[in-house]
Every structure is written in structure tokens, then in C-alpha cells.
């Protein structure tokens, strides 16, 4: 071939590219540009590498909190009072939704359709949410919705279904005030709860026992470090620790007695056209609360299952205050139910003896003011027992006047008046034992010469019949009457009978806690108790209710019709009845309160008799110790 073509032979010589200036310039530019990219690449990968790698881990490695199951509340006999019902919620991670506007919108529309919520609202919610956080969208899903959406999850990037437990109250209106409910954490509570390991979206006991024994019920959350993909689906779990369920808390409440007590209260209120009331039944030997009712109540499930605006405003604007637990937070003058304190002070201070006879006129005058008895006629001379039995006001005016306000207040406090009881629920009110200092502060006007700021003899004598500014609560009344029943021990009331932890070990058994002994001798206390026994055994009066109900009047009681809203003759009243039984070895003490009750003997007392009717029939049940498997 070479021989045949000299041209080809020439051309086969080494070729030599000719680099024009512009080609060289292009080559230099290319090398510079790639060099620039290399430098930038090194910056991103080496200089910013660690921080960007941390962002990558944040993207994909998530710590998931494994919510501990909240402890179950039982009554003293082991009847469950709450349940943790399974519920499903739609969770959306906005950043993981499709990027394209159309695809994103289509997914949101589809999601809204599947979950039965408004697409526009969902879209707005997603737009406002933290893009990398988990947004809980819409209300809980129904089981059908959950199944449908779960099947579609692979086509719905950024969407997941969270299963959680919804606290469900099995006896809604009956136990609303005792159990309370759980709810989201308030902003004000958050800083302290955060330190205790709470999650911002965790539910916490808000009121009632749910709040009072929160630390027992909560359990210990577990966790899992999971790797999730861009759609929010868990790819694998790196490490985890299981949660520990909360303790089972056996309340001191006897479910059946509580139910009966509420029914009795409702029957009594309905009979006398009253709207509200409360009752607390305690065991005077242990301080355990066997029944606590406050009427009207509410359905706590409304709060845990999502309350509507209308339902909520109905609850908060109801004039009968269904959200108020009157048993612990309703503060009212005790009226004549306080007379046992005045009697105790008079006897113990030596101002009277059980045999001392004092007149019981229709009125007496102190410091220029006239103070009336409930009867407009004189009842004659009587001893303290009789005075308690007929509830003579003028008798106790005289005792109070001779004892003096300072000593009387001291006895009141000794019986537990004016003390917020330490019981397992928030919002317990103390009531009030008024004294000179209180009055001078409360009047607001620093004018020592005015009767509204200066303690007067009138304050002292009305304090003697449970009026003046004296306030108590149905719970304090129950503790007070329990002390009269058990021989003078003021007990710490409790709602917790026993606590069993997640592994079935008994963590706590209630032991009676005596917070104080009343400074009253046994014989003086016996005289007071006789007076209380006499009251409920007066023929044609209180005794009628016992006979009518077939309940033995073996016990002691005291009625009280307390005026409120100022001073004068025609003031509205509340009706009280405090009671213990049986007389010799009491195992039940209770207070009954009828708001705006006018005649305690016919309005409050029959409710207590009604409760005793049930109690006597089931007394053995209450005493039976709780046996755990």
C-alpha cells in the first residue's frame, strides 16, 4: 500500500494538532471551571461535611417515643373505672409530601377525602405546621378510615398513621369529679414537666385523681431510634427500649356505694327542686373516701375524645357549674353543723359542763345588736346535749361569747376547719376560719374603728353557730364528723386504697394518717356525741326519715341551715347534714350538702338516710379486704 500511494505515505506521518488561541482559551476555561467546582466540592464535603452529615442524620434517624400505657384506675373492689381505648390519628410530615404543587395538592385532597375532613382546612394546617415535624391532622380516624388509609400509605408519601390510646371513662357523669380527665399540657406547666421527661404532645392528668396520682399513672415512656425514609416510613430500628406501663391504682371509692350516693343526692335534690349538691362518705377509721359525689357532673370523655366548641361553652356557662367539684372546692358556711365545735370549746375550756343549763330564748342582744334563734319562741333551759339536739342558736351564742373568738377559732382549726386537706386531687379548698387579723386584712380599709374591719362580739357569737365568715367544704365536713365519730382523730382523707405496679407488685397500701387529735376529753366528746344521737332520734322530727327508710337511727347527726350572702334575717341558705354510724363503733361518716337548701332536716338529712339504707345492706362488702390475684 505504501508503495502504491505516496500521498498516503506522507499523510501517515505523525499528525500534529494545531491549537488556535481560542481553542486554548476554551481549554483553560474548562480546566478552571472544573477546578472551581472541585474547590467548592471540597468545601461542601470537607469543611461543611460534618454539619451537613448531622443534618442527614436528623433527616433520617428519628427518636420515636414509645408512649407508656397509662395506669388503670379501679374502685376498691377492683372494678375498672377507665380504659385506654385504641385510636388512630393521621400524621403528616409536610416536608415529605410531594414537591410539585399539583401532586402535593392532589395528595392533600385525597387524604382529606379518606379522612373525611375539609381539604382546604387540611391544606392550611399543613402550610402552618413545622415542615419537618409530625402534624396530627384532623380528629381521630374511625376504624374503617384507619384500614382504608393504611392500605394506601405506600402511595401517600409523608403520611403515616399514629396509634395511641384515648382515655375513656367508663362511668362518665358518676365519677367525673373524682377521676377528672387527662388533657394537653399547659404552656405554664411545660417548663417543669419538660424536666421530668414529658413530651410536648403528651397528655397529663388535668383534674381529679388523674392529676392527683399522675406520677403513679404515667409509667415510663420507652424509645426507639428508627431510620425513616423520605416518605416518613420506618425502614429499620437501630435501638429501642420498651415502655413501662403506669401503676394500677385501686381507689378507696366503692363504685356501687358511689353510684347509690349520687342517685340518693339526685333523688333528694329532685324532690325539693334543688339544682346542686355534694356528698362525701368516709371511713372514720382510715380516712378512706368511700364515695364522693358532686352534682351536677359532666362527661370527662368529652375532654379526651375532643370536645366541641358548643359543648365546651355549655359546660363553662352553665349556672350550676358542672365543672366545679363542690366536694372539695365548694366553700360554704357550715351553719349549725359547727355547733359541736362550739360545744367542745365550751366544755373543754370549763365554761359549761354537760350538766350546765342555759336558757334558750328567741333572741339575745350582744353589743347593741339583736341575734335570733331559729324559733320565735323561747325553748327554756337546757343542757348542751339538748341544745345540740334542738340546735338552739341562743344557747351557743352564750357559749361562744364566754369562750371567746380566739379560743373558738383554735378549736375550729383543731377539728380541721380552714385546712386544705391533702387528698389526691388538685384544687382542694381550705375553707376559712375567720379571726381578728383576717378581718382587718379582708375589709380592705385600714380603719380600725369601723365594724367592718374590727372584730365584734357579734362576729364571735355568730361564729359560734357556724356563721360569721366561717367557710368549709363537704370534704372538710366529712373529716370533721369522722373525728367526732372515731374519738377525736383528725384523719388525712385519701382516695387511694392500694397501688399495684406494672409487674404486679403491691407498691402501696393505704395506712391511716392521723394529722391531729382534737383537744377534747373523752367525756366531753361523749356528751357531744350524745347530743348528735339525740338529734336524729327526736320523734316527729329527724327520726321520721330513718323509720320511713327502715334504717336504724344508730348513730349521730347534725343538721345545719347556713345563711350566706351577707347578714340579716331573710338571706338565702344552704342545707347541711353531717352523720356517722353506728354509734358505738362507727364505720361510716358523711357530709351531705344541698346548695340553696332551705330546711336541712327535710332536704339534706333524708339523702344521708338514703345512703345509709344502701350502706347497711352492703356493709360487709365495704369491710371486705381487696384480694389481688
Amino acid at each position: 500500500m505504501n508503495e502504491r500511494s505516496p500521498l498516503v505515505s506522507l499523510a501517515a506521518a505523525e499528525h500534529q494538532p494545531r491549537w488556535s488561541f481560542r481553542l486554548v482559551a476554551a481549554g483553560v476555561l474548562a480546566v478552571l471551571a472544573l477546578g472551581f467546582l472541585a474547590v467548592r466540592l471540597a468545601e461542601v464535603q470537607v469543611a461543611e461535611g460534618p454539619s451537613l452529615a448531622a443534618l442527614a442524620r436528623e433527616n433520617s434517624v428519628h427518636r420515636v417515643v414509645l408512649e407508656a400505657e397509662r395506669g388503670i384506675l379501679y374502685d376498691r373492689h377492683g372494678m375498672p373505672l377507665v380504659a385506654n381505648a385504641p385510636a388512630w390519628n393521621l400524621e403528616v410530615v409536610p416536608a415529605a409530601l410531594p414537591f410539585g404543587a399539583a401532586a402535593r395538592e392532589a395528595e392533600i385532597d385525597e387524604l382529606a377525602r379518606l379522612a373525611g375532613i375539609d381539604a382546604g382546612a387540611l391544606s392550611a394546617e399543613i402550610a402552618a405546621a413545622d415542615p419537618y415535624g409530625s402534624l396530627v391532622a384532623g380528629p381521630s380516624l374511625t376504624e374503617d378510615q384507619e384500614l382504608t388509609i393504611a392500605e394506601r400509605i405506600p402511595d401517600l408519601p409523608g403520611v403515616s398513621i399514629a396509634r395511641h390510646a384515648v382515655r375513656t371513662y367508663l362511668y362518665p357523669t358518676l365519677l367525673s369529679h373524682v377521676l377528672g380527665y387527662v388533657g394537653p399540657i399547659d404552656g405554664a406547666q411545660w417548663p417543669s414537666l419538660k424536666r421530668r421527661g414529658y413530651q410536648p404532645d403528651e397528655l397529663i392528668g388535668k383534674v381529679g385523681v388523674e392529676a392527683g396520682v399522675e406520677s403513679r399513672l404515667r409509667g415510663v415512656d420507652g424509645w426507639a431510634d428508627v431510620v425513616v425514609d423520605a416518605r416518613g416510613q420506618v425502614v429499620r430500628t437501630l435501638d429501642s427500649q420498651a415502655s413501662v406501663a403506669g401503676d394500677s391504682v385501686y381507689l378507696s371509692i366503692d363504685l356501687d356505694l358511689d353510684r347509690w350516693t349520687l342517685a340518693a343526692l339526685q333523688r333528694g335534690l329532685a324532690r325539693d327542686h334543688k339544682k346542686a349538691g355534694a356528698s362525701v362518705v368516709v371511713d372514720p377509721r382510715t380516712g378512706e373516701v368511700l364515695a364522693m359525689v358532686s352534682y351536677p357532673g359532666y362527661d370527662p370523655n368529652l375532654f379526651t375524645h375532643g370536645i366541641s366548641e358548643a359543648d365546651y361553652s355549655k359546660l363553662v356557662t352553665d349556672p350550676n357549674l358542672p365543672l366545679l367539684n363542690r366536694a372539695i372546692a365548694g366553700q360554704y358556711a357550715p351553719g349549725s353543723t359547727f355547733k359541736m365545735v362550739t360545744a367542745a370549746a365550751g366544755l373543754q375550756e370549763g365554761k359549761i359542763t354537760p350538766q350546765t343549763l342555759l336558757n334558750c330564748p328567741s333572741y339575745l342582744t350582744f353589743g347593741g345588736w339583736t341575734y335570733h334563734n331559729w324559733a320565735s319562741w323561747g325553748l327554756g333551759y337546757m343542757n348542751v346535749e339538748k341544745a345540740l339536739a334542738v340546735s338552739c342558736d341562743t344557747f351557743f351564742y352564750q357559749v361562744a361569747a364566754s369562750v371567746g373568738d380566739v379560743t373558738l377559732a383554735k378549736y375550729a382549726r383543731a377539728f380541721g376547719f380552714g385546712t386544705a386537706k391533702s387528698i389526691e386531687m388538685p384544687g382542694v379548698e381550705a375553707g376559712l376560719v375567720p379571726d381578728r387579723i383576717w378581718k382587718s386584712v379582708a375589709c380592705g380599709v385600714p380603719d380600725g374603728s369601723s365594724d367592718s374591719c374590727r372584730w365584734t362580739i357579734g362576729d364571735t357569737v355568730t361564729l359560734g353557730i357556724g356563721q360569721s365568715a366561717l367557710l368549709t367544704t363537704p370534704l372538710n365536713q366529712a373529716v370533721y364528723v369522722a373525728a367526732l365519730a372515731n374519738g377525736g382523730s383528725v384523719l388525712q382523707p385519701t382516695l387511694v386504697h392500694e397501688v399495684v405496679d406494672a409487674r404486679g407488685r403491691v407498691a402501696l397500701v393505704h395506712q391511716a394518717v392521723v394529722t391531729g387529735h382534737v383537744p377534747v376529753s373523752a367525756s366531753n366528746l361523749a356528751a357531744i356525741r350524745e347530743g348528735m344521737r339525740e338529734e336524729i332520734n327526736r320523734p316527729y322530727n329527724m327520726n321520721y326519715w330513718f323509720r320511713a327508710a327502715g334504717v336504724s337511727a344508730d348513730g349521730g347527726g347534725k343538721t345545719g341551715t347556713a345563711q350566706w350572702g351577707g347578714s340579716g334575717l331573710d338571706l338565702p341558705t344552704h342545707a347541711w347534714f353531717v352523720f356517722f354510724a353506728p354509734f358505738a363503733r362507727p364505720d361510716v361518716a358523711m357530709s351531705v350538702f344541698v346548695e340553696r337548701g332551705e330546711l336541712s332536716e327535710v332536704e339534706a338529712a333524708p339523702i344521708a338516710v338514703d345512703v345509709m339504707h344502701y350502706f347497711n345492706a352492703h356493709r360487709s362488702g365495704v369491710q371486705a379486704p381487696l384480694v389481688l390475684s
Partner: protein
């Protein structure tokens, strides 16, 4: 016949670099969870196009330039009329069930047209200069309105660079620069909403981490977490878990960098640099102006796409959708680039010889004739 075996007459280095890039591409596409077998099919098709183009005598293309131009316009108009839409843009034609992206083809078609026009004159007359601009405008507008900002940018780069390499006068180049300066303030009115947002995001990253900035942020996170040595093939968190969007196409470099680190990134950039130098070398060695400009055009197509793609992946340039040549998944882009490299090969195989002038052997040989010397086959 020829004294040199075929493998001595092709630029093996160029072919080798392309093959290495294609292998890296398939591995990365596999790691992205995309259809790597289909990419192998595209590579086979592209390989065939490469061989065919290198055997084909590129000089026969010059007379066909008018036809190529018309075909380009027809394809781009067809996209507007019967194209399929995806992700808010109408870019695909369905040809026998396969999606065809004419804007990918048009990049190389423009190169052929410009090479043919520019090789006719030297220096470039103002008339020809104006004609080129007028001819370049319709396809550019058709592409920009799909909308396909990435390809339009590549178009602009090809036009500018080929004018420069094709011997445009400095005055002509300056006039284009001046027009560009005037046009910049008009940009916000021309760009689509999302394109404007991308530009804003580039200028102010983090202003919208969820929306338009999401892609950019996730890509940078992936690149950054690659570190020096990478997390290993198939072990990139960002890529494997799907946080990087478009991870087999526009953002494939990000997941490559996450898996292979700075070291792998430098290797890849080195491969591209080597490939580009080989293309320029072919241009410099071309037997004629048309071949030189053809190679120069292919150089610009590859160069512009590498710079824009890698640049946006590491956050150094605004986002505009262009594939990373031979790496990104995609039939039209892969076949087009391989065919273009085949043309470069065709030029290289017919390179100019420097004839050591021997008047005894060839007394009448002049320069023009030397340029026409055919080396092979």
C-alpha cells in the same frame, strides 16, 4: 489495506473515558433505585450510535445542515403540539412507546447547524452573524417556553462558545455581551414563576427550606455527608432513603458524591476534564473547519452540562434541569451525547496530517489539498 489497525485510528482515550463515565453512571443509577437495566439499553443504543457516527464521514453532515435545522424546529414544535407533560413542563414526545426528549437532541443539532454556518466564513461577516442569531432564536424560544431553562442555558452557551471558537469578531462578541447586559433586568419577566423562585433560592438559600429550597438543601446535605471518602456504594442515607429528589437525573451527582465522597467527586471531575480535553484535542487536530467547530460544539454541550449540573448539586449555581452527561438516567440525553462523541471520533479519525513537504514526491501540494487529505479508512 490500511497499515494501522482500527483501534489505532480511533481515539481510544476518549472512548475509554466515555465508557468509564457510563459505568459510573449505571452504578449510581442502580444505587438511586432507578431502572438501571433500561439505562443499559440506552447505553447499548448510544454505543451503536457512537460507532455509527464515528464510521460516518462527518463532512457529509455539512450539506445537510439546513435539513437538520428544519428537523429540529419540527421536533420542538411537535413537543408543544402533541408532547406529554410531566412536572409542569411539556418536554416529551412518545415515539413507538419510548419517550423522546427533543430538547436533548436539539443541543447537538444546533451544534451541527452552527458548525456548518460558521465554517463557511472566516472572519465572520456581520450578515452571517445576524443570520446565525436569527436562526438560533426560534428553537431557543421553543425550548424556553416548554419550559426547559436548563436546555435553554446550554443552547445559549453553545451559541456563544461556537461564535467565539468559530472566529466571530471581538466586536460581534461584545455586541452579544452588551445585549446580555441589557436583557438581565428583563429576566424576571421572562422566567417562569418556579424559575424565578429557584434563582431567589440560589441567591438566598434557606429562605424557603420546604418549598423551592428543599431540593437544593437535600442535595447539599447529601453531598456534604459524603465527606472525604464517601459512605460507600449503596450506603448513602440521603440517597437510599429518598431524601434527594430527582436522584437518578438532575441530582444524581449529589447521591454519587454522598456514596463516593470528595475522592470519588474528584475522580469524576477528572474523567470529565480528560474527556473534554480529548474533545478539544480532536477539534485542534481536525482536518477542516467544520470538523473543528463540530468538536468545539460537542465540547461546549458536555462542558456546560457538567458545570451546570455539578454546580447546582453543590449549591454553586442556581437550579436548572440539565442531565450530567453519561451519568444521569435518560434515553434521549444518553444516546445524544454518545452520538455526539461518535461525531468527535469521526473527526478524530480523519484528522489532519502534517505533511513533511517533500517536493520530489508531491511537488504541487498546497495547504488546501493537505486539509483534504483523507487518512482512513
Amino acid at each position: 489495506m490500511s497499515g494501522r489497525p482500527w483501534w489505532r485510528r480511533v481515539d481510544l482515550a476518549l472512548a475509554g473515558a466515555a465508557a468509564a463515565l457510563a459505568i459510573v453512571g449505571v452504578l449510581t443509577i442502580y444505587s438511586a433505585g432507578a431502572d438501571w437495566q433500561r439505562q443499559l439499553l440506552w447505553l447499548a443504543l448510544g454505543g451503536a450510535a457512537f460507532v455509527a457516527a464515528s464510521w460516518f464521514d462527518y463532512r457529509r453532515l455539512a450539506p445537510l445542515a439546513a435539513g437538520v435545522y428544519v428537523a429540529m424546529i419540527v421536533l420542538l414544535v411537535a413537543v408543544h403540539l402533541v408532547g406529554r407533560s410531566a412536572l409542569g413542563a411539556q418536554r416529551w414526545l412518545s415515539v413507538g412507546g419510548f419517550p423522546l426528549e427533543p430538547s436533548e437532541l436539539s443541543k447537538v443539532m444546533l451544534v451541527v447547524v452552527l458548525a456548518a454556518l460558521l465554517s463557511r466564513q472566516r472572519p465572520l461577516s456581520w450578515r452571517m452573524f445576524a443570520l446565525i442569531l436569527v436562526l438560533a432564536a426560534p428553537p431557543a424560544v421553543l425550548i424556553l417556553t416548554q419550559p426547559d431553562l436548563g436546555t435553554a442555558l446550554v443552547f445559549g452557551a453553545v451559541l456563544l462558545a461556537m461564535l467565539f471558537l468559530g472566529g466571530a469578531r471581538w466586536g460581534q462578541l461584545a455586541s452579544i455581551g452588551l445585549a446580555g447586559l441589557v436583557a438581565i433586568p428583563l429576566l424576571p419577566f421572562v422566567l417562569h414563576g418556579y424559575q424565578r423562585r429557584r434563582l431567589e433560592i440560589f441567591l438566598n438559600p434557606g429562605s424557603d427550606p420546604l418549598g423551592a429550597g428543599y431540593n437544593l438543601m437535600q442535595a447539599r446535605i447529601a453531598v456534604g455527608s459524603g465527606g472525604l471518602f464517601g459512605q460507600g456504594w449503596l450506603h448513602g442515607l440521603q440517597g437510599q432513603l429518598g431524601f434527594v429528589p430527582e436522584r437518578a437525573t438532575d441530582f444524581i451527582f449529589a447521591i454519587y458524591a454522598e456514596q463516593f465522597g470528595l475522592l470519588g467527586g474528584l475522580v469524576l471531575l477528572g474523567l470529565f476534564g480528560f474527556l473534554l480535553v480529548r474533545i478539544l484535542n480532536a477539534a485542534a487536530g481536525s482536518a477542516d473547519r467544520f470538523g473543528e467547530l463540530l468538536c468545539a460544539g460537542v465540547f461546549v454541550v458536555v462542558f456546560a452540562q457538567v458545570v451546570e449540573n455539578v454546580g447546582m448539586n453543590i449549591g454553586a449555581l442556581p437550579i436548572a434541569g440539565v442531565p450530567l452527561p453519561l451519568i444521569s438516567y435518560g434515553g434521549s440525553a444518553t444516546v445524544t451525547v454518545l452520538a455526539a462523541l461518535g461525531l468527535v471520533q469521526s473527526v478524530a479519525r480523519r484528522r489532519r496530517a502534517v505533511i513533511h513537504h517533500n517536493p520530489q514526491l508531491a511537488p504541487s501540494l498546497n495547504r488546501t489539498e493537505i486539509g483534504a487529505v483523507r487518512l482512513a479508512p
